[in-house]
């Protein structure tokens, strides 16, 4: 179940974005690292660059953006994406 925490792009992170087909590559200017993301993870990051969102809102936004059902598997994908993005230091949530 979504826990109501709000997610945002981590402080100090600057992102340059390129998308090809369904995949995205992101350059992070603070570390100089680049990352390749699948469609959902890319969409999660893109939405969080625009504004802070909680997990439920994120799932609904992605459902609209990618035109897929906001079902349990999408929630799971979004959760996994947030774990990955958080592990890379690109996003953070409320304590």
């Amino acid at each position: 179940m979504p826990d109501g925490k709000h997610w945002r792009v981590s402080a100090g992170v600057g992102i340059i974005w390129r998308s090809w087909d369904s995949e995205s590559v992101v350059y992070e200017s603070f570390s100089g690292d680049i990352h390749s993301f699948d469609m959902v993870t890319g969409a999660v990051l893109k939405l969080l660059v625009q504004h802070t969102q909680d997990e439920t809102t994120l799932v609904n936004s992605i459902s609209r953006t990618l035109e897929i059902e906001p079902d349990h598997s999408l929630s799971l994908f979004v959760k996994q994406s947030l774990v990955r993005l958080s592990g890379l230091g690109l996003v953070e949530c409320d304590k």
Partner: protein, 296 residues
């Protein structure tokens, strides 16, 4: 043919290769032989006001001279590598010059890749050692493609074009005889055995490639070649995102260029069609390359 040994052993020889002027000094006979065989068609000068790289190749002094003679490479007075056996002096010049360019020239994005050109458009062939990149490159430039480089793809950050650095093609082991048979007219330097890459020999860049070294080209294809014994030729599209990651990994100065490096790599990916290419027969490969279509 010029004999450069007197100049090389004295005040040195200035050789123009692509956009760079190299000032080389060496009294080692095999270096002079290699330069004479493989660089006689490049613009060269006895004196010049400026050189991008000042390179010395000297024998290591002391008792080593008598027992196991070695060669030492120095660049602007700095010694970046351990000495090698004296027999490897000319290959060391080539490898050392690659190092100089890759580590010191940052107005280009530099990628470990071969580059060839035809009709003003170029294919970039990034690949790890053992993939057959240099062999394929040598075959292509003996069948109508122009040599830009067999090791260093240079994408100019200012003009956004690929810039040639047409130097000898470094072939290893079985590839040497393969290309000697495939292109009997090609000129080769001396074979040197027991290097850390096995036996190596350098093939002279084709004359036209040397003469047109100032002509840049637009990047159009990124092709990852892979030699596989007995394989039929297969050219398959590869994902652009993955190719972007692979180019960054194969670039010598991407990290140093930071955002500019990422933008340059992204632009290459935007402009190029990206492929994996598996092959075993050079003639098959030539046909596939000759039939490449321009990106939409």
């Amino acid at each position: 043919m010029n004999d450069f040994s007197t100049q090389l052993g004295g005040r040195g020889l200035y050789i123009q290769t692509g956009p760079f002027c190299v000032h080389l000094q060496s009294s080692i006979a095999t270096v002079a032989d290699g330069i004479t065989q493989l660089y006689s068609e490049y613009p060269s000068f006895k004196e010049k006001d400026f050189a991008d790289f000042h390179i010395h190749l000297d024998t290591v002094a002391g008792i080593r001279r008598l027992i196991r003679p070695q060669v030492q490479f120095s660049f602007d007075g700095y010694i970046p590598f351990k000495p090698l056996p004296l027999d490897q002096a000319f290959p060391m010049f080539e490898w050392g010059l690659n190092w100089c360019v890759a580590n010191n020239i940052h107005e280009y994005l530099i990628i470990h890749a071969a580059v060839i050109e035809k009709n003003g458009v170029a294919a970039i062939l990034p690949a790890p050692p053992g993939s057959g990149k240099s062999t394929l490159c040598a075959a292509l430039v003996n069948r109508g493609w122009r040599l830009f480089s067999d090791e260093l793809a240079m994408f100019c950050l200012r003009t956004r074009m690929l810039v040639p650095l047409p130097r000898p093609v470094n072939l290893k082991n079985n590839s040497i005889n393969l290309i000697k048979n495939y292109a009997p007219e090609a000129i080769f330097g001396r074979e040197v055995s027991d290097t850390n890459k096995g036996t190596v020999a350098h093939m002279k860049a084709p004359t036209e490639s040397i003469l047109r070294a100032a002509e840049a080209a637009l990047p159009s294809w990124i092709i990852m070649p892979r030699y596989q014994e007995g394989a039929k030729p297969v050219l398959e599209s590869r994902p652009k995102a993955q190719t972007c990651m692979d180019l960054a990994q194969n670039s010598f100065n991407y990290s140093l260029l930071a955002e500019d490096g990422f933008l340059a790599i992204s632009e290459l990916i935007d402009k190029c069609d990206c492929y994996d290419f598996t092959y075993s027969q050079l003639d098959d490969a030539i046909k596939i390359f000759d039939d490449l279509e321009l990106p939409q």
